[in-house]
């Protein structure tokens, strides 16, 4: 094995990371992915004289390990694209090309990922073929993205998703901050996963500074993460109900989502858990009274959503819309590197909370939940189950918050080092990799939101479905635009 073995939230000196030739790296990466490792990072860090050190980061879920290796390129250099042999590299190679100019030769789909300007869509012609263009501005209150369908009659033959409209240059902003901690920026990378991104960012800084985050802070963070998961799953279930005109489902989920996010407000002063997580720990404590209140409202909301969901999923009119719609096979899910509940709904048992446990999840183990059918129903039903699981976890944690401080010092970072953090947000694995320069300031921060992996899954899922089912498929994936566009 040519990769260096590490773990989530551990700092490694840059000098200790193997520097391979691209042939060696490609071979090692291909071999690792055949044996079930997942690509969680493939990005460049620009060094002096236009040279770029490309880091390849893999997750070994069985061994709870992170594998890391690197390769030095000069800007504009070419190498043999890995997408053909390792399809999950598809987006990573496009991103690397866009960010550094290193060309993956033979990449089947080397199109702009985030930049504006000209873009050529795939074309398919035939007597019954027609194109439908949707977006970037959509009919509801959602983020912008462009969808180009090629249909035969009403059946979708192909969907191409063009994103990048939300590009704010977040990674660059972290890098420009010259030593200043930017937790508020992390909370806005993808605003529906504020807690998830904030914990990932804080974990990177804590690993690099060697901060000893108190147990109490870890538990408060996990409660915030689970509240976020429960609330977003409630919102997602409601939206799916709304898309099939099952309005009671939307009403009940909406009302109880309010309860859940107001519980986040109780803890953090923000309905989205913002301002709570800071490098070193958390800034708001959960006292006994708040813990009891949190547990009580969560249990009540989960019970109400639960009975509504069971009622909804037992209605034939609902099931006929959800089942056999938007299917992703397990093989596709694995080869595309899908993550989160989307992957678990296809029977891929990955969940960073138990594969790469960190923080409170070391002490409150999470059982992985999976479904097999990979359709809209599987994704929706799994979210219902995960919501209930989150409620149980929150109750368990609220009943046993360890005593002690809620924060530790986290200021001086280890120079010339990298730390990688994986956090299971409600959508899936969030990966942050932070690289420091010789002064111990963050020189490069690489962010991977789960949406980055999963958008392509949506494009595959809708093939062969009626175009009128697209909103339903889209909602069942519930992906982030800004999380992808950064």
């Amino acid at each position: 094995m040519k990769y260096k073995h590490s773990k989530t939230n551990r700092a490694i000196r840059l000098a200790d990371i193997p520097e391979l030739s691209i042939t060696e790296l490609s071979g090692a990466l291909e071999k690792a992915c055949i044996s079930g490792k997942r690509v969680i990072g493939f990005f460049g860090d620009t060094k002096d004289e236009g040279r770029v050190r490309v880091y390849s980061i893999l997750a070994d879920d069985d061994a709870s390990e992170i594998l890391i290796a690197s390769c030095v390129f000069t800007a504009g250099e070419k190498y043999r694209s890995l997408t053909a042999t390792v399809p999950q590299m598809h987006m990573f190679e496009r991103e690397l090309y866009e960010q550094t100019g290193i060309i993956p030769e033979g990449h089947p789909w080397l199109k702009p990922l985030r930049s504006g300007g000209s873009y050529e869509f795939f074309k398919s012609t035939g007597e019954e073929m027609h194109e439908v263009a949707v977006g970037p501005v959509h009919a509801g209150i959602i983020e912008p993205g462009h969808f180009r369908f090629i249909c035969a009659g009403e059946r979708i033959e192909h969907l191409e998703i063009r994103l990048g409209f939300q590009r704010r240059g977040v990674e660059k902003q972290f890098e420009k901050s010259s030593g200043r901690q930017m937790p508020a920026l992390a909370e806005s990378v993808c605003g529906d996963t504020s807690a998830g991104h904030a914990v990932a960012y804080a974990s990177v800084l804590e690993a690099l500074s060697g901060a000893d985050v108190p147990r109490r802070a870890h538990v408060v963070r996990a409660i915030a993460l689970e509240l976020e998961r429960a609330a977003m799953h409630a919102g997602g279930l409601g939206a799916i109900a709304n898309d099939i005109a099952y309005l009671m489902g939307n009403a009940v989920c909406g009302a109880n989502r309010t309860t859940l996010i107001n519980t986040s407000l109780l803890i953090s002063g923000s309905r989205f858990g913002r301002g709570l997580v800071r490098p070193g720990g958390v800034v708001y404590d959960i006292d006994a009274e708040k813990a009891a209140l949190t547990a009580r409202s969560t249990v009540e909301a989960a019970a109400r959503i639960g009975e509504m969901a069971e009622e909804m999923f037992s209605a034939a009119s609902v099931m006929s819309r959800l089942q056999q719609t938007g299917i992703v096979t397990k093989e596709d899910a694995v080869s595309l590197g899908l993550t989160g509940f989307t992957a678990r709904a296809c029977g891929v048992p990955i969940d960073s909370r138990s594969d790469h446990p960190s923080g409170a999840y070391k002490y409150y183990p999470v059982t992985k939940l999976t479904m097999d059918s990979g359709d809209v129903f599987a994704r929706a039903y799994l979210r219902h189950l995960e919501l209930q699981q989150s409620a149980c976890l929150i109750t368990e944690m609220c009943e046993s918050i360890p005593a002690g401080k809620i924060t530790d010092k986290c200021d001086v970072l280890m120079p010339e080092a990298i730390a990688i953090s994986i956090v299971e947000g409600w959508r899936g694995g969030i990966v942050y990799a932070g690289i420091t320069d010789k002064n111990g300031t963050i020189r490069r921060l690489k962010i991977k939101d789960p949406s980055f992996n999963n958008w392509f899954g949506l494009a595959l899922a809708v093939r062969g479905n009626g175009i009128s089912d697209f909103p339903l498929c889209n909602k069942s994936f519930d992906l982030s635009y800004c999380g992808n566009d950064l």
């Binding site: 985030r114 930049s115 504006g116 970037p136 501005v137 009919a139 509801g140 209150i141 959602i142 983020e143 912008p144 990048g164 409209f165 939300q166 590009r167 704010r168 240059g169 660059k172 902003q173 200043r180 930017m182 508020a184 920026l185 909370e187 806005s188 990378v189 993808c190 605003g191 529906d192 504020s194 919102g235 009671m248 009403a251 009940v252 909406g254 009302a255 989502r257 309010t258 107001n262 407000l265 109780l266 803890i267 953090s268 002063g269 923000s270 309905r271 989205f272 913002r274 301002g275 800034v283 109400r304 009975e307 509504m308 009622e311 982030s480 635009y481 800004c482 566009d485």
Partner: protein, 250 residues
């Protein structure tokens, strides 16, 4: 069928009867109360991620503030405290700059003035097209929440529409990325006259923490007047709804 009715009966009333009187939990970070005139016990440039704090005189610009609470914790003499008052909307950018002596009660009375022509045309029915232009989905979720069973903004005839052609104005979220600037303008142009513009959230109002980024384009706001600013990060549904109610004189 009977099971659904049973659930409906059991869950009971969900709507908030009076949105104007509704209060949020005391933990909520809303309208900032400032007690210092010209002396802060911390360096705002080091503390505030949004560059929202001014020093002479001491001020908080709610159009930039992301209500993270970092300054509140840095204060040694409670110079800046966030109250849980949520009625923070304003009809002019300068109104949102809060200094010592501006109380929430005073602000709420004066920050949004009802304009006669707006009341006449939109007072009973106001439909919006929403454009997210770099929004992180925080404000978008809260705007969706405005129409849920709790807040039920539709009771006032205020709703979001799918087409700009059916709407009376645009609600903008996000700092406006270069890649969305064109789509935002096109959407705005597709709305029939007369129309109003609402900027929701710190990003839309001022660019927020993304204001300095080169991927952001604020051209739209140079050419178009904003009728209502709704501070927050993200905005609270009550801030949004109450702001509009003031604007249309209800």
């Amino acid at each position: 069928m009977f099971d659904i009715l049973k659930i409906r009966w059991k869950h009971g009333r969900q709507y908030i009867p009076d949105l104007k009187k509704a209060a949020v939990a005391k933990e909520f970070r809303g309208f900032p109360v400032i007690t210092a005139v010209d002396k802060l016990t911390f360096d705002p440039a080091e503390v505030c991620p949004a560059a929202a704090i001014g020093t002479s005189p001491v001020s908080v610009d709610m159009g930039k503030c992301i209500f993270c609470g970092d300054c509140e914790r840095a204060c040694k003499n409670n110079e800046i405290k966030f109250s849980n008052r949520h009625k923070m909307a304003a009809d002019a950018a300068k109104n949102m700059i809060i200094t010592a002596g501006i109380s929430a009660e005073m602000y709420e009375k004066e920050a949004v003035r009802c304009r006669r022509e707006i009341k006449k045309i939109f007072g009973r029915s106001l439909k919006f097209r929403q454009v997210s232009a770099g929004g992180c989905n925080g404000c978008e979720l809260e705007l969706n929440a405005c129409s849920n069973v709790n807040f039920d903004m539709g009771r006032f005839g205020i709703e979001f529409t799918a087409s700009p052609r059916h709407s009376d104005g645009v609600v903008i979220t996000g700092p406006v990325t270069k890649n969305m600037a064109h789509a935002l303008l096109e959407t705005y142009n597709a709305i029939p006259e007369p129309k109003i513009v609402i900027a929701a959230g710190a990003c839309a109002i001022s660019g927020g923490i993304f204001g300095e980024a080169e991927e952001i384009s604020r051209e739209f706001f140079k050419d178009h007047k904003v009728d209502l600013y709704v501070p927050g990060c993200p905005i609270h549904p009550l801030t949004f709804i109450n702001g509009i109610l003031r604007l249309i004189g209800r």
